[in-house]
């Protein structure tokens, strides 16, 4: 097609499968979208970092900067009717599934306008309508959950997959192996996406895994290893994986990626890895820089990208200020949405004699 750009990405490493082509088609338009999407994610996470340090955010806060190409490439290959589930490192899924930066920031600040109304916090963002099943704080627990979501797609005869994302640390969890086995037995359209950012907290992959070849760790389930810093490599591989999964059942994808920040906010991220390593990643493999270079090489003006940058910064700054100005959730929200059916009974408050009737009110009208 006119305007088509062909890009050679790093060849895929395959396990029990033949590799798809590593020449990926794209266009200036698509690349601009990728740039915009990833830059928004990047700026948002950097803002979250600052807001955390300024004490507007509390608890855990796991940032995704560095890994943007993985999610962006995935979204480019699937539809919004496909499902996604991930770990606590979930801010960007909120964005990619249609949420606003404002509602993410508001959630981090514990505001009523937040993605989960201040009830969930950083690790517990969801978007049921956008088929985003969260945000899970328990390492590995989202893996069988994702297989179950895939089961529901198949049960209803829908042509959709569930993208089940987890880290290299989570890849050792027993429930992953249980889920893989059942997904295999039942041919579930589940794509197990291991985001290998090479560290689980402070533990390097090889210290946590006897075999850090994550794309082969499904053993009897086929796998593919992808340069997760290259959005085009990811897009192409996920399109391949989706077709495979719908036709045959589960597949494992290892995305070779990197997190720039520490694990969560209390981790400087520099005691178990060298500054050199981090710098090399930023300068040599940064996913946004890669797309930028492609755009420039394909005739896009640097000024146009600067404009995008500026718009994004303005959007993020605006969202941050709006979130700061958000409202504290009223105390009686404590008692909402514990049950969907009326409980027909009261639950106990902190003090004896204080009983409350929990109600189901997902619009938080009352």
């Amino acid at each position: 097609a006119p305007g088509t750009i062909k890009v050679e990405v790093m060849p895929y490493k395959m396990h029990r499968l033949d590799a798809p082509s590593n020449v990926v088609e794209t266009s200036v338009e698509e690349l601009k979208t990728f740039y915009h999407t990833m830059y928004r994610m990047r700026r948002m996470e950097i803002a979250a970092d600052m807001m955390y340090k300024a004490k507007f955010i509390r608890g855990f806060c796991h940032l995704y900067d560095g890994q943007e190409a993985v999610l962006t490439g995935i979204e480019a290959a699937i539809t919004k009717k496909d499902s996604i589930i991930t770990s606590y490192r979930d801010h960007c899924q909120h964005i990619s599934r249609g949420g606003s930066i404002f509602s993410l920031m508001a959630e981090l600040m514990g505001k009523a306008e937040g993605a989960t109304r201040g009830l969930g916090g950083s690790m517990h963002i969801y978007n049921k309508k956008g088929h985003f099943y969260g945000g899970n704080g328990i390492v590995g627990a989202q893996i069988p959950l994702g297989a179950g979501i895939a089961l529901a797609h198949k049960y209803r005869g829908e042509p959709n997959v569930c993208i089940t994302m987890y880290g290299d640390g989570a890849a050792n969890q027993g429930q992953k192996y249980e889920a893989l086995n059942m997904a295999g037995l039942w041919n579930l359209p589940c794509i197990f996406v291991c985001e290998n950012n090479h560290y689980g907290m402070g533990t390097a992959e090889w210290r946590a895994a006897k075999s850090p070849l994550y794309y082969t760790r499904g053993d009897y389930i086929p796998g593919i290893k992808v340069d997760g810093m290259d959005v085009l490599a990811v897009k192409n591989a996920v399109a391949f994986a989706k077709a495979y999964a719908l036709a045959n059942g589960p597949i494992v994808m290892e995305m070779d990626t990197y997190r720039y920040h520490g694990h969560s906010m209390s981790d400087p991220g520099s005691t178990y890895r060298t500054r050199d390593e981090i710098n090399a990643m930023r300068t040599e493999r940064d996913p946004i820089e890669r797309v930028k270079k492609l755009l420039l090489a394909n005739g896009v003006d640097a000024a146009e990208l600067k404009k995008i940058d500026k718009e994004v910064k303005a959007e993020v700054d605006g969202a941050v200020e709006a979130a700061k100005a958000g409202t504290i959730p009223p105390d009686h929200w404590l008692w909402k949405n514990m049950y969907m059916a009326p409980l027909g009974a009261e639950v106990r408050g902190v003090l004896p004699g204080v009983y409350k009737s929990p109600d189901f009110d997902p619009e938080y009208k009352n």
Partner: protein, 326 residues
């Protein structure tokens, strides 16, 4: 007519599978083997392998899969061969099933029933005899039901499956084969009992006996024995352990002013502890004696028949406890 508890659960499952095609059953040996305790007999033949799914022996995994499918709109009935094995899956039950509706600010509900035999069977020793009623009933987001007879089993199972929230359904292996009279109303396809309501099985004015599951039968026997000595016991079948039917308990206490709670589980922080704490909190001045707890002994379950009997409440123990305050 009479019906066993096994048939009561089986028929409830059957009818709910027929009623709603989002309902499906999964667990170990539920299909081709017809259930380790034959609770799912005939269902695979009737509804096929997509709706009656045999799983490998991987509780964490299949529980997570069941919960995920419930998030996505299906209505799984997840069998644990016994509740002891659910210990391997507890994280998924608590952190995924029970908490997600709240964490997601009401977006993602989890219509699932976890079911299986709970507590001591006969001669199955320490790892296979634990009662989990107190643990699950402490968790906000869960509802916990425990049927005693066939009426309970049918009406509560249907309520559980139709409920949009996660329900823990605690059965008792020893009751499966027991037959109870059932009325035509109980056999109706839409016989649904309310969650959160206890049932007064026998009225009485001297002492209230509170229990659930198999111990309800023991309390009824103790009440009969005590009636011969002129002590009239009111027997309450909790049916629902979360939520507890406070009103029913307090109303009875106001009548009898004395209460004995009977359970097979361990004493510390048990269901009886909660009820005793509640009663003295809600009706301090009504109490003519302490609320007494008759419980499983505070030991892992021994194997030998005599030791096992000594570790569990017997009808005689209930009689003794009542007599100590009557």
């Amino acid at each position: 007519t009479e019906m066993t508890v096994r048939d009561a659960i089986n028929s409830a499952l059957d009818e709910e599978l027929a009623r709603d095609d989002k309902v499906y059953v999964l667990g170990e040996e539920v299909g081709e083997y017809q259930g380790a305790y034959k609770i799912t007999r005939g269902l695979l033949q009737k509804y096929g392998p997509d709706r009656v799914k045999d799983t490998p022996i991987t509780e964490a995994g299949f529980t997570g899969i069941a919960v995920g499918s419930a998030f996505a709109g299906l209505k799984p009935v997840c069998e644990f061969m016994t509740w002891n094995f659910a210990l391997q899956a507890l994280d998924q039950i608590i952190n995924s099933a029970a908490k997600t509706l709240y964490m997601s600010a009401g977006q993602i509900n989890c219509p699932i029933v976890f079911r299986g035999p709970n507590g001591a069977a006969a001669g199955v020793a320490a790892q296979h005899s634990q009662c989990f009623a107190a643990w699950y009933s402490s968790v906000p987001g869960l509802k916990v039901l425990a049927p005693y007879d066939s009426e309970d089993a049918r009406g509560l199972m249907k309520a559980a499956i139709r409920d949009p929230d996660p329900v823990i359904f605690l059965e008792n292996e020893i009751l499966y084969g027991q037959a109870f009279p059932v009325t035509p109303e109980v056999l109706d396809k839409d016989f649904v009992l309310p969650i959160g309501k206890a049932k007064v099985m026998r009225e009485g004015k001297h002492v209230t006996l509170v229990s659930f599951s198999k111990m309800v039968g023991y309390c009824l026997k103790a009440a009969s024995a005590l009636a011969r000595d002129g002590v009239e016991c009111e027997v309450i079948n909790l049916r629902s352990i979360k939520p507890l039917d406070k009103d029913c308990l307090v109303a009875s206490l106001k009548k009898t002013h004395k209460m004995v709670v009977v359970e097979e589980g361990w004493p510390q922080s048990g269901v009886g502890s909660e009820i005793a704490a509640l009663m003295q909190e809600l009706a301090f001045d009504e109490l003519d004696a302490p609320v007494l707890r008759v419980t499983g002994a505070e030991v892992p379950m021994p194997y030998a028949a005599n030791l096992e009997a000594a570790a569990l409440p017997q009808v005689d123990d209930i009689v003794k406890a009542v007599k100590s305050i009557a």
